[in-house]
Symmetry: C2
Subunit: 389 residues, 2 copies
């Protein structure tokens, strides 16, 4: 049910001592081939962590043998020395696997602005390489080792129409507002595909999965989603089939990220319909998902549709043309706002389920867009004010 | 020290019963002339409350005799009936004052999506008109009657170089991210000015005061700032002098709004320097002030500069050109990030003062911009999840 579910992959996760808690903090995912196809998408943040800078150039040729990941430190804002640390990590892992450093991708997550303790990290990669396994437990161990404020490990897998398998692991619970990518995600497949297909499938999948979760409007410096293809199944798949499989696994992982978002008590699905374009629908959905007043209202089980309408009204008309007097809102199926005015009584809305469905009808066209977010709770404030992360 | 400090104005604030608590909820501010000059700026939200729609057209001729304000209900998203309610309120007050309804501006604040109880409101305006006074206590009473989640009434006044007086009252503690205006503010002056000058002075002042506070990135449907000029001092002032006075009073009131922001434990001043343009500086400052991770870190007395840098990195290069590797950050005077890398130890930063100064140097030009915001606390979540507002 993770990166080791497809054939041709081994993984490991071990405690190296980067985290003071002694929890697992170094992971390896190795592609044993026969193919070494790879694709990746990275954060849209202009401040890019050293591992992002390293991995971006390393994956540019569409090939990778392994991914080394650590929690317990983001290696961001660490200057040329930090980049050298990522490079050295790749070289060290390459030597362990008898590969080229240029084929080792690096991912880090944790506090920004602190150098990684390299001796501890490299010793951890030695330990991880020593226990690499193709079994389910090894994939699970890798998923555990990349957790930060996550409360559960995130894994998923699926089988495509012609029998190839796609699997994945992900971490992320805060600073979760990806553009092009989110948090640390490693996807694997045993399908036979080339790098161009892998890249196209990955971008198509992330655009409708990771790009559509937004826990707190805060975009990370380290977001990375990597897809590795081993070809070990011998099954050739089309772009559409691969994209379907990658999208299914990505969708499960993206939903798991929101479900485990820091302190959340509701998963919130904001669906905007009857927009002029998908861009317009997504802009309105994102503005609503980012409203602290909407998010706190939901935390308080309050279907406060005035705050939803006010958030929608903040999107410029040039981005999302619609008439505010025609806008309607349903919360958990109850039409609380009809054509810009009071609809059904808000008391009819049952806010007790974990999942809250916010539907906004712009009455302007036929396009639709949705964003998954979560509510804003005391626990979010506690987690993000009491600890550096 | 408020709207009644300048000559030529009377005010009142009374409990009409719109609030279940019995607190004051209806206010009147009356300009007794000899001039009846008025200017106003309104929310940039596309969803505009009925009183905003009414007042926008009523003030278009640059004249107004009175402003009637109520808390306890925003009269937003209430359709044509809600607009008729605002119109009827203006007509009723006009009859009380022997004025024209077109010279009565209307402001409302409170829950969106609920019709106002008109009998209660109109009876309240009768009561307010009966106790109108030019004394300090009457201005204070008006300031109290427009409070919602505010914990203190906001008032201010100043005397310009040539002796004219500018005064004002304001309310606002949440949904505070104005564009062109903020919350409900009534400014008065006894200077002799024409409508064009009043409008220009008001816009110049709000651009650098109310437009630069951002408590929670949520823009209201009812924001209104009104300036009334009576000319009662007989003192003619230039645009510059009036703008200075209006800016001073607006600045005091804007800072008071942030200081009283819902649940805040720190007032945060984000100053961005060495930007290519003021627009670029303000965009970076606003992105930082809107980051929930920055705001929760400050609530926890944590000078987590990585989150500040990550927020700055979310501003598109087309808006704010700068090199992330040259960006520096000071928190309360300590340079925690120097040219994109680790600077002084974050332990040196004293976060205990109420005011937190975040300085970001983009090393890209000579322009500066600043935003006042506040931290994100348990109390904010409590206030906005436990109560409909």
């Amino acid at each position: 049910m993770s990166v080791t579910t497809p054939q041709g992959f081994r993984a490991a996760g071990v405690p190296a001592g980067l985290k003071s808690t002694g929890a697992p903090d170094v992971a390896l995912v190795v592609n044993d081939g026969p193919l070494d196809v790879a694709a990746a998408v990275f954060t849209g943040n202009r401040v890019q962590a050293a591992p992002v800078q390293w991995s971006r150039q390393a994956v540019a040729d569409g090939r990778a043998t392994a991914v080394v990941l650590n929690s317990g430190g983001a290696n961001a804002c660490t200057g040329p020395e930090g980049f050298a640390d990522s490079h050295r990590t790749a070289e060290h892992v390459a030597a362990l696997l008898e590969a080229s450093a240029q084929d080792v991708l690096v991912c880090s997550t944790g506090l920004i602005g602190v150098r990684l303790p390299m001796d501890t990290l490299l010793a951890g990669t030695d330990a991880a390489a020593a226990v690499l396994g193709a079994d389910a437990a090894s994939g699970e161990a890798a998923a555990h080792a990349i957790m930060t404020t996550d409360t559960v490990a995130k894994t998923a897998s699926t089988t495509t129409a012609s029998g190839a398998v796609v699997g994945g692991i992900a971490k992320g619970a805060g600073m979760l507002a990806p553009q092009l990518a989110t948090m640390l995600v490693v996807l694997t497949t045993d399908a036979v595909v080339d790098a161009t297909t892998a890249d196209a499938a990955l971008r198509a999948a992330t655009a409708v999965t990771f790009d559509r979760v937004d826990s707190d409007a805060c975009m990370s410096t380290n977001d990375t989603v990597i897809l590795l293809a081993s070809g070990a199944s011998g099954i050739e798949v089309s772009l559409e089939e691969l994209a379907d499989g990658v999208r299914e696994v990505s969708g499960v992982l993206a939903r798991a990220l929101v479900a485990d978002a820091e302190g959340a008590s509701h998963d919130v699905h904001v669906v905007v319909t009857s927009a002029t374009t998908e861009v317009a629908a997504l802009a309105v959905a994102r503005e609503i998902s980012r409203s602290n007043l909407v998010k706190t209202a939901i935390a308080g089980n309050d279907p406060n549709w005035g705050r939803i309408v006010a958030a929608a009204g903040c999107v410029p008309e040039s981005v999302a043309p619609y008439d505010p007097a025609q806008l309607s809102v349903r919360v958990n199926g109850v039409q609380v706002c009809r054509a810009g005015e009071v609809g059904e009584p808000r008391e009819l809305v049952d806010m007790t389920p974990r999942e809250t469905l916010v539907e906004v009808d712009l009455a302007a066209g036929t396009a639709t867009g949705d964003i998954w977010t979560n509510d804003l709770t005391h626990a979010y404030v506690e987690e993000n004010s009491a600890y550096s992360s």
